[in-house]
Point group: C2
Chain length 625, copies 2
């Protein structure tokens, strides 16, 4: 499948010159910007100069080339080094480096983001680049079967993040010998020495115990670095590689070398001048390292087999989590780019249906939600369409990764089951009551909360092509199917399930509370109160027009009920939409879970929380009374 790449072997003397240039340019760019991390760049300059010159197979003119190696700066604060590399390979000009870094409206941001075509993922929240790299490496090894390697430059401080060990654990579990972590052990963090300092043995024991091949090296000895990079990238033996490089922060400028107090500080102009002089002055090398293997053009996706979407009879009791599993299989049948991941609860989320049908496109992440979202991010970088599921409550574990996914601009599909007090007996640790707020606050997100199986199927289908971070909240219990198969559920829409020209009040629900709203409407009819009922299945974007029309029709009287804490969820979304739609007076009753639940049945707990049919009806009576 692969043919040898033509290797232009840059000699190590040139690499040394390049390393000096990268240091000088890291200093120049950060001093020009008045902020940035030159010393953290200088410690890794020899590693990166050797890597880029002699090992990284990359076509800088074609960053989308499928067999390009990947280079991820998990220590994103070393952005001056990365951008200096971009200058050295000729894709960023000296002018841009010196006038664009960290400036408004420019692409050389303080920490790298995929605004730059050579950057896969946004980094800067430490402990995420390596987990993301696991996802890219999974794609390379299992899906694309391409010979690219994933090189990740890590900081030593970030090895304190548990997510780094989740990453190594999964890398060894999945035998990702295409993943090479290079740890820049410069022994100094932001505020002082790291936990383990230069104790490379301690790092080595940990990385080995987590299944990696470990290499230690003097990070300023180019010959040694070159040897170690060669060994680390040797033909796959099923283990990820970890290179532990002993380095000196600020290496090359004697005034700051290995000195505390220089993290994240650009040198003042006079210091920068001395540093550049000590480093031998400004250089203007342009280098290109090895090119990627040439691989056959990727074949176009085979025509989708047109798997039928599942259908359910109206009135049949089906849990939306079950419908998710059913729909995911169908969506996966239609689109080979759909992949699934789960956090060891696939028999609860029903992702197991996909796992059984498409085992090659399913990645079990065990109980490691951070790594699950990071792997999804890496898979999305390679063009796949990941659905990642766990209990909705446990997605809170991955919030920083979700937030960074939005900055990375990837399309991630998150599915949280067992939402709210409805789950009953398991108690509050398992009840997602913050998830809607958490996901609504993510930039560009889509938040969906279907009430029945039919709408779930339609929304899962929509999610496959929804840009950005999309979230589907599913319910534990089985509830009646409300809609006939094939009914459309556009993102941003809603359904008016009951209405008349003489409605007195509007009841808004989503998911489990929609069923309570429907029962409440029945109760209200006994009081001769006519209630409009809206299924607000699209929480973000929300159907403001339908809500506003209902508000107008029912004199501003609206009851909204949600199985979520009162802040930031459905009630907030409805309130925000109504307020934005104009100055009409509103009488909005918001029912939500205000207390701290315990165990019980779902019915008991919804009654306790005041979000069941009786409470919704009472709130409506109070508004209309």
């Amino acid at each position: 499948m692969t043919t040898s790449a033509p290797v232009t072997r840059i000699d190590l003397d040139t690499v040394a010159e390049l390393a000096a240039q990268l240091r000088v340019d890291s200093i120049r760019s950060s001093t020009s910007a008045g902020s940035g991390h030159p010393t953290s760049s200088m410690s890794a300059a020899d590693l990166i100069a050797t890597l880029v010159s002699r090992h990284l197979r990359y076509d800088w003119d074609d960053p989308r080339s499928p067999s390009n190696d990947h280079l991820i700066f998990s220590k994103g604060h070393a952005s001056p080094l990365l951008y200096s590399v971009f200058r050295a390979v000729g894709v960023v000009s000296e002018d841009e480096l010196l006038t664009g870094y960290r400036r408004f409206g420019q692409r050389l941001e303080g920490h790298p983001t995929p605004v730059l075509p050579w950057v896969d993922v946004a980094t800067g929240s430490l402990g995420q680049g390596l987990p993301d790299g696991v996802g890219v490496a999974l794609a390379g090894r299992y899906l694309e079967r391409l010979p690219y390697r994933v090189w990740v430059l890590c900081g030593d401080s970030e090895m304190a993040e548990g997510s780094m060990w989740e990453a190594l654990d999964k890398a060894s579990y999945y035998r990702l010998s295409n993943l090479i972590a290079i740890v820049d052990v410069n022994r100094l963090g932001q505020r002082g020495p790291t936990e383990l300092g230069w104790n490379l043995d301690a790092y080595a024991r940990r990385a080995e115990a987590f299944g990696a091949r470990v290499f230690t090296v003097d990070g300023h000895n180019l010959n040694a670095i070159d040897d170690v990079l060669t060994l680390a990238a040797e033909p796959p033996d099923g283990q990820p590689a970890v290179i532990l490089a002993r380095t000196i922060k600020g290496y090359g400028f004697s005034e700051v070398e290995d000195r505390d107090g220089w993290h994240g500080k650009p040198f003042p102009p006079d210091m920068a001048e001395r540093a550049i002089a000590e480093l031998g002055g400004v250089r203007n090398l342009t280098i290109r390292g090895p090119r990627p293997y040439r691989v056959p053009e990727p074949r176009p996706e085979p025509p989708a087999p047109g798997a039928a979407l599942p259908e359910y009879g109206v009135g049949e009791k089906v849990a939306t989590r079950k419908a998710y599993g059913d729909a995911l299989v169908a969506v996966g049948g239609r689109d080979g780019r759909v992949v699934a991941l789960d956090g060891e609860v696939s028999n609860s989320t029903h992702a197991d249906e996909f796992a059984h049908t498409y085992p090659d496109r399913y990645f079990e992440m065990f109980i490691a939600e951070q790594q699950m979202v990071a792997a999804a991010t890496g898979l999305a970088v390679r063009g796949y369409r990941p659905f990642a599921s766990t209990f909705a409550a446990f997605l809170t574990r991955a919030y920083d990764f979700i937030r960074m996914g939005a900055i990375s601009g990837v399309d991630l599909r998150l599915v949280g089951s067992h939402a709210g007090v409805e789950i009953g007996a398991d108690g509050p640790s398992q009840m997602a009551l913050e998830d809607l707020a958490m996901l609504r606050a993510v930039h560009g997100s889509t938040v969906l909360y279907p009430a029945d199986a039919t709408s779930t199927v339609a929304l899962v289908e929509a999610m496959a092509t929804t840009p950005g971070i999309s979230y589907l909240r599913t319910t534990r219990g089985a509830y009646p199917v409300l809609y006939p198969a094939g009914e459309p559920f556009p993102v941003g829409g809603s359904k008016v399930l009951r209405s008349s020209d003489t409605d007195d009040v509007t009841l808004v629900g989503a998911g489990v509370t929609l069923h309570a709203c429907l029962r409440a409407a029945e109760l209200l009819r006994q009081n001769a109160i006519s209630a409009r009922v809206i299924d607000c299945y699209s929480v973000k974007p929300i159907d403001a027009a339908t809500l506003a029309a209902a508000a107008t029709a029912t004199s501003g009287r609206i009851v909204v009920a949600e199985d979520h804490h009162p802040e930031g969820g459905l009630g907030s979304a409805v309130a925000d939409a109504l307020l934005a739609s104009g100055p009409a007076a509103l009488e909005l009753a918001r029912l939500a879970v205000s207390g701290m639940p315990g165990s019980g049945s779902g019915e008991e707990l919804m009654a306790w929380a005041g979000i069941d049919a009786e409470h919704i009806a009472a709130a409506a009576r109070s508004l209309t009374g």
Copy 2:
């Protein structure tokens, strides 16, 4: 300081009987409830029976006794086992166990919570009990200097959570030989085999590499268990202990032993009957293990030295993060229970001032935000008053731990610096734009966002005695002090900084946007528009009365500006409060960060986001025009 505890040594034959009773009672309780995890309880019953009978030093009649050992079920789903222990020691009745488990309004919840006096922390989100235990052990070793041990029962599945490795890392860094993790390696997770199965060597290598003393044992051999528990709890040598116990899920009932598909499933009554018969029937043992060492009554806190709160001159430019550091030192001087933790950015958050002044009460957590919040939780369990700080953006990393902290009912003080686009050049990875939404959605939380140093000081002082999860958002840049020293800032209040009887519009800000609102009011005066300006420093609870009065006074015209995404933050809080206050028509303009920021100066980015003085003034003109 300590005197020997009188040891009642229960013989191993009795322990065997107890283990059988715990299994039988785990089955009976879960079958009676119709849900729960009997097989996960049965695997650990021999471990726990031996521990509770012969090693755990605990006065069951006085769970608050300061020298009691601590027993944390990190695998919270083994609650039937824990509650069966409570029955066996006589603090929970058989009736409660059989009729109360997982029932509405009862305290034997599906996963343990501190509603029960013998439970320290809520568990059930896996990977949190051990990190919490690190906090308890820190208190025992460094603050209380008490001889208690912290025993944590862990599941094997949860060893996939990075947080478990953060915990072991910190336990060895802080030489917590008073912490003993017992890992119930039953090789089966929820949906199938675990990653490492019964490969105890693999677990051992990892735990050893992370600095633990490791013991492996047959988890069903009482003699061996007893020996290992003795060794693990031997006099401190500065290392935490990890006991790896090879166990069989469902042990004692041949129909389910080591069988997949029995996770989290109670046995149907007929199976339960067969299981109980196989286990030798119902038993009614009451046992008590060793009592805690008697220690002198804790001395009352020494009278506070009355450290003066810092004061700043009006108009002086001071960053609120700096005021936080200053205030924390003062608050720490007044109250010896105040402790501080930080995630390796204390020179940015200014927690370093506390670290320098009170090094004995400061715990550096390096870049491990999950463990930082968990350690704070454990310290709070022991009655300390932790303040935990990092960049606000990185608190998203610990959301699951914050959520669980609320369920644990502990008082945690979280402080997030560098919020919003105001931080400028570092770019979006470092900009908290979801933190207000995230923290508002936490049950019982308090969310504070001061605009100046004086209010920061007052709010830090208030936080020291604020119950539940409280959050302080601080700002990177230095802004003028607005209030004279000593001005009161009650939680739930606000400040009206400008008002007249003829105000046309109300401007609401908090933190950095308050300064923009003040400048906007000046701009509006040039247009002969009189603006009321409100400092909404208490985002939750919010001062609804003052907002409603302002709405009435300014014909419902309100502009609210926040350095946060549009969902769930200050704008939502204001909207919620105004809507709740009555049916008056509102014209609410909400300014927030809608786009994805890049780098730039704070001023440039606030202008870009449309939350600076000019945009606030324009929005006000639009409302009044």
